[in-house]
């Protein structure tokens, strides 16, 4: 216990802290400028000076640690004089162009001078002149206004870990500058923007377009992009989003954002938005009224159900839509259309892995808190780069690295290049073998864990049948790290699911998780991949993950939903597409998904959809898939409607409506209207109403309300009942398929930091940062091919060819070449063939051997 006196108030503290922190705790305000809570103290501005008894000079509260018996004064004439003096100093070279500066009104310097500063300055000479730099497309730099607090630099290097900017120059010439000089060659998280106390770093997205006090509305909501689910605040004026900012200390992201969350909001106001329903007439999509469009859909679906039965109807749900939308969608499919053919794009990665892991290890096995990652002593990263798929989660890994954790990357992860302690190359199509070998080695040392007999047996059988892959460098080191680490986390990206033998990798990772008692994190590209599953948008499970084949569950839902559930085994995503091709599926309802662009082998998918009798697409843009539809229904997007999403930790949060628009209808409302017309009544006031029902029917969500969600309390396992223990008692056996075809280079789907699916291509800021697809390629491959940065090349596979630009990337250690799936007509998925994994039904990528030619 430390006891000290601040301003004659006695204060007792359990823990050592700085005088500033102690004062704040006691409600005593000390002015600061260079201090920022999330950053290490700096002690540069000297505004926080205080008097400490028995210390000869004034002390800075932000750097001084408390000591027992300290007697401190935070206000006195001397202190006021010093603060006034320092503020006068800060202004001698400051342009004082407040009337023109975006920061005015929320500028810390302005506020400080207002409160503590002198009324007039005595400086007579010329001020330092530095022209504002607009060389970067996103961030403007005004170094005349910079107070050299270094908050931006400390943020960039110590928290974000990008180390892209620095204080250049010395003395009065000190200024912040990117190492890349003119424009920012960085991660564009914009977290420097958050911490800059003055108008020295500015966002060009809203430069000079509004004043902070001129916003009509501020709405605290959740990001629309990835499965992290960062809290952010949307500021609105005239029903358009003016900017997106994080709130200090709020949400799991604690005031941080990534490029997509911060700068990617503009798609909502895009001119390309669908505004009216479209109906195909004489082969062409024509605008139609809602009544007309909805009636066509209801009639058609009703007709096909009558004629060919529910088995011939299928639905594809969306991890971009809310839990309420998805819940209603599957209810509509099952009850109104009479089909269990319902799935989502989640099947191609997250969903497939999630189900496999939960089947083997129990529900909730992947529901771990992101914040906990930083406390791990060892982190294994595989199947993707967490810092680009789930950037804020990636920061926790970087933080763990700074704390001294071992970071082992299997495969490539560019964003961990400076943080990893070990990298293991897993050759294309041999990833599963490498993981099995690792599991076998860990098993050889650790033996059975004795918790689940079937798993111990399965691991033993696998180990007996595995010849260790001896020539993989670093595997022994990794084994050693894992055996020694008292707390291990495995961060699993879904690239490894997309193999026709993906289940082998999944088993190996399950085995490692089990033997090492590790925490398992599943990377999630889209905001509601977990929610779409928990809402019941999978063929074989009802909301809450209740297996449809268990009679008790089925009965319960039939009672709640007041009708009988369809009785047949539903099709998974790729089976639905195949069904469409063969004619088994006649009508397909797609909500918020773009299979033509997002699934492998676009030609095949397109042919399949073309063979349908009836295709409905509900979306906010006329996507490649919507172009093929018979009816297109415009939905509302993020920030235009309220609904909950479930992140990869299984935290439920509300995305709130912030702007009013007449562009479309909520997804759930469209569905309920159609359902009503088809004779199954769905009457809900709003999304909260739907959540109330979901909380009633889903055993997981017992007593869940919007109120409770808003309090930030809805974290797994909520108050509900998870399905305890493992779902199955036998390891699912799959076909062993050998897919390697000895190519020199293999194409892999990149998930770039600056884009996400196809939404981001409508966000001008993100397309400015990354205007076209690139091909990331290792230095060795580039040398062999005679390529350098910026070369334009043709990338050709057996499925097609695409033009792109080369980026040589030192972090790649193998013969993979990476290309994203984001840009119109230039996506990577189109160039891939696939074969289904017999266990997970995820499409395993094949035929990805590529040739690369300079144009």
């Amino acid at each position: 216990m430390i006891t000290l006196t601040i301003n004659n108030k006695e204060i007792s503290l359990e823990q050592p802290m700085t005088v500033l922190e102690a004062s704040r705790q006691a409600g005593i305000k000390i002015p600061t400028l260079c201090y920022f809570e999330a950053l290490k103290p700096y002690g540069g501005c000297r505004l926080c000076v205080v008097e400490v008894e028995r210390m000869p000079r004034l002390q800075t509260a932000c750097t001084l640690m408390v000591a027992d018996g300290m007697v401190i004064q935070t206000e006195s004439d001397t202190i006021s004089e010093v603060r006034r003096g320092i503020l006068e100093f800060l202004l001698i070279n400051h342009p004082l162009d407040c009337p023109y500066c975006d920061k005015a009104g929320e500028c810390e310097l302005q506020d400080l001078v207002n409160k503590y500063g002198p009324a007039v300055g005595r400086h007579k000479e010329e001020k330092r002149k530095v022209p504002e730099s607009h060389k970067d497309q996103i961030l403007a730099r005004n170094m005349e206004r910079c107070v050299a607090c270094t908050r931006c630099v400390r943020m960039c290097s110590d928290v974000q870990g990008a180390s892209a900017i620095s204080m250049m120059g010395r003395g009065n010439d000190t200024r912040m500058e990117p190492f890349s000089a003119d424009s920012f060659n960085c991660e564009y998280c914009g977290n420097c923007l958050t911490v800059c106390p003055v108008g020295a770093i500015l966002s060009r997205l809203y430069l000079h377009s509004f004043r902070p006090w001129q916003v009509d509305r501020e709405v605290d909501t959740v990001c629309s992009y990835c499965g992290v689910g960062c809290s952010l605040t949307v500021q609105v004026r005239d029903d358009s989003i003016k900017r997106v900012i994080p709130k200090e200390g709020k949400g799991l992201n604690k005031g941080l954002l990534c490029s997509r969350g911060r700068f990617g909001y503009e798609y909502i106001g895009s001119d390309d938005r669908l505004t009216t329903p479209l109906v195909r007439k004489n082969g062409k999509l024509e605008p139609a009224t809602w009544t007309e469009a909805l009636e066509i859909v209801a009639d058609k679906l009703q007709g096909i159900r009558k004629e060919s039965g529910g088995v011939s109807i299928a639905g594809i749900a969306s991890p971009r839509c809310s839990n309420e939308d998805n819940y209603l969608f599957q209810k509509f499919m099952r009850m109104t259309c009479g089909t269990n053919n319902i799935d989502s794009i989640s099947r191609t990665g997250y969903g497939a892995a999630q189900k496999y892991f939960e089947d083997l290890l129990g529900q909730g096995i992947t529901s771990n808190l992101i914040d906990g990652l930083k406390n791990s002593e060892a982190i294994v990263v595989l199947g993707g780069d967490p810092t680009s798929i789930n950037p804020i989660l990636g920061l926790s890994i970087r933080e763990a690295a700074r704390r001294g954790a071992q970071i082992a990357v299997i495969g490539n992860a560019k964003g961990l290049e400076r943080f990893k302690t070990l990298q293991i190359t897993a050759p294309v199509f041999e990833e599963a073998a490498v993981l099995e070998s690792l599991l076998a080695q860990v098993f050889a040392s650790k033996g059975e864990r004795g918790e689940h007999a079937f798993l111990d047996r399965g691991i033993a059988d696998m180990a007996a049948g595995t010849s260790t892959v001896s020539d993989v460098k670093g595997l022994d080191d990794l084994k050693k790290i894992l055996l020694e680490s008292p707390s291990t986390s495995i961060v699993f990206g879904t690239d490894l699911v997309q193999r026709s033998d993906g289940h082998r990798s999944l088993f190996a990772v399950s085995g490692l998780t089990y033997l090492l008692e590790a925490r398992l994190y599943l990377l999630s590209e889209k905001a509601n991949e977990q929610g779409v599953i928990d809402a019941g948008c999978v063929p074989d499970m009802l909301p809450g993950g209740r297996p449809l084949h268990i009679e008790d569950f089925k009965k319960k839902f039939e009672m709640l939903w007041k009708d009988s559930l369809p009785d047949f085994k539903g099709k998974t995503l790729m089976e639905i597409i195949e069904g469409a091709r063969t004619g088994d599926i006649k009508a397909l309802y797609i909500m918020g998904e773009n299979p033509v662009f997002n699934l492998p082998d676009a030609k095949y998918v397109k042919e399949a959809l073309d063979s349908l009798d009836f295709l409905v697409v509900q979306d906010i843009f006329l996507s490649e898939t919507a172009e093929l539809a018979d009816v297109v229904l415009p939905a509302l997007g993020w920030a235009e409607r309220t609904g909950t999403v479930t992140n990869l930790e299984r935290r439920i949060q509300v995305q709130k409506k912030a702007v009013e628009t007449s562009a479309g209808m909520e997804d759930w409302r469209i569905i309920s209207e159609i359902s009503g017309k088809m004779g199954y009544k769905m009457e809900y006031k709003d999304s909260e109403d739907i959540m109330d029902e979901l909380a009633q029917v889903s055993p997981l969500y017992r007593d869940l309300t919007y109120k409770e969600i808003d309090r930030g309390k809805s974290i797994w396992p909520y108050h509900g009942e998870p399905l305890r223990g493992a779902e199955i008692s036998e390891i699912p056996a799959g076909e062993e398929v050998q897919s390697g075809n000895g190519a020199d280079y293999y194409l892999a789907v990149d998930r770039p930091l600056f884009h996400s699916g196809t939404l981001s291509r409508r966000s001008p800021a993100l397309t400015k940062i990354m205007p076209e697809p690139v091909l990331r390629i290792s230095a060795a491959s580039a040398e062999k091919l005679g390529l350098t940065d910026g070369d334009r090349v043709n990338v050709t596979t057996s499925a097609g060819s695409s033009e792109t630009v080369v980026v040589v990337d030192d972090s790649i250690t193998d013969n993979r070449v990476y290309m994203g799936n984001n840009f119109k007509d230039r996506g990577a998925c189109r160039l891939l063939n696939f074969r289904l994994d017999s266990v997970t039904k995820a499409p395993g990528i094949e035929g990805c051997g590529v040739t690369i030619e300079k144009r």
């Binding site: 002690g43 540069g44 505004l47 010093v82 400086h123 204080m167 003395g171 009065n172 000190t174």
Partner: protein, 418 residues
């Protein structure tokens, strides 16, 4: 008194190991390795040696803190940044007597349990760099440095790190940042380098002259050493004398020799028989003394009482023809240029002071400028992050205190009066 630090430097080959050995060099190393590290430390403590880098911190105490910290490895840094205007006392050691420093560092490393030493050398001393490097090579060959010193299983590896010209890198924590490859700026203290220094490990930073005194302490014993010069800060001291004297140069004299004695006896008195006006006794950051205040002992205890500081012992002598406004202006140009920019009072204050002084010197000063100078210096004083900014304020305050009339005349006449 016989020279120890500057012994033999008139010999043209003094930097060569053979000459150094000839004159008895490296015997003290062998003597020190014959006793326990703790005993070496005790000798240094008993000697009363205080750091020669400027602050006069008791070396034995610093070493005790460092050895008390259980963390390993420990690093020994020799501060050879010598950037303070007027200071050139380490240079003769570096260029003419490098083996004395090397021997001193090897002994110190042994006492401290440090296996790695770095010499942080002023960027403007490239010749010294070459000389030190070849001396280190010689010492390595002869096993005075390396993995197994004199076959006793003691390891001490030494290297030279060239600075890039920043004065602030002479400040010990900025020096450490710089050695780590970062921008040279001071760190927050505590933690002190003796506990958390280079790469987070205990690090001892000592001045060239401090470390070069260590062999002497071993040679004559701490107790005998303590009898040289001033009782509270004993030992031989190097004074670099510059300015308006007949014999500018570096003098090795007992600590506590008076300023008067240094200027008039050792440095040959005033040049051209001019009248002495002022002395900056310890390098540009120490407050100026007027001519009538020079009968004071040059040591760490007496100088503060006389109104200044010993600093690095760099005596800058000015005669009646020197314009004190111009001196102040030149000093502030230096500080403004060298301010690292970390803290507001120094970064902005030195800039503002320089601007005001510039206008006074150029005849553009106005009524109230002297008060403004005092105010600005007052705001800086005691509030800067490191002593550099404090020093800058001190220079201005000292000059105004003793030579206010010169400032007033500049303003009244509207021109420089010299």
């Amino acid at each position: 008194m016989e020279n120890f630090l500057l012994k033999n430097i008139d010999n043209p080959n003094s930097a060569d190991i053979a000459e150094y050995e000839q004159a008895g060099g490296y015997k003290n190393l062998s003597k020190a390795l014959g006793i326990k590290p703790k005993d070496v430390l005790d000798e240094v403590k008993a000697s009363g040696l205080r750091g020669r880098g400027g602050a006069g911190f008791p070396t034995g105490m610093k070493w005790t803190f460092a050895t008390a910290d259980p963390k390993f490895p420990k690093y020994l840094m020799c501060n050879a940044d010598e950037g303070e205007p007027g200071t050139f006392k380490d240079r003769p050691i570096l260029e003419k007597n490098p083996h004395l420093l090397i021997e001193g560092m090897a002994i110190s490393g042994y006492a401290l349990g440090a296996e790695y030493g770095h010499i942080y050398l002023r960027g403007e001393y490239p010749e010294a760099g070459d000389i030190l490097n070849s001396a280190i090579n010689q010492a390595n060959e002869k096993n005075y440095l390396g993995e197994n010193i004199l076959g006793k299983g003691i390891k001490f590896k030494l290297s030279v790190h060239m600075g890039a010209g920043a004065y602030i890198c002479g400040e010990e924590t900025a020096l450490i940042e710089s050695i780590e490859g970062k921008k040279g700026q001071p760190r927050n203290k505590p933690p002190f380098p003796v506990n958390v220094g280079a790469w987070g490990m205990p690090t001892i930073v000592n001045n060239v002259e401090t470390l070069s005194n260590v062999p002497y302490i071993i040679e004559i014993g701490g107790e005998n050493y303590a009898k040289i010069g001033s009782s509270e800060c004993p030992g031989p001291k190097l004074f670099s004398v510059s300015g308006c004297v007949n014999k500018p140069g570096v003098y090795e004299l007992p600590m506590g020799t008076t300023l008067q004695d240094i200027i008039y006896n050792h440095a040959g008195g005033m040049r051209n028989g001019k009248k002495l006006k002022a002395v900056i006794p310890g390098g540009i950051s120490t407050p100026v003394l007027p001519a009538d205040a020079i009968d004071c002992a040059m040591d760490f205890v007496a100088m503060p009482k006389a109104g200044s500081m010993l600093g690095s012992g760099a005596v800058i002598v000015m005669d009646e023809d020197v314009c004190m406004v111009k001196v102040t202006y030149r000093a502030l140009k230096f500080f403004e240029h060298e301010s690292c920019g970390k803290c507001v009072p120094c970064r902005e204050g030195t800039d503002w002071l320089r601007k005001i002084l510039e206008r006074i010197e150029n005849g553009k000063g106005t009524q109230g400028d002297i008060e403004l100078l005092s105010d600005v210096a007052g705001i800086m004083s005691g509030k800067t992050f490191c002593p550099l900014g404090d020093g800058a304020a001190g220079v201005v305050m000292g000059m105004i205190k003793h030579f206010r009339s010169e400032f007033e005349e500049h303003i009244k006449e509207g021109k420089c009066t010299f």
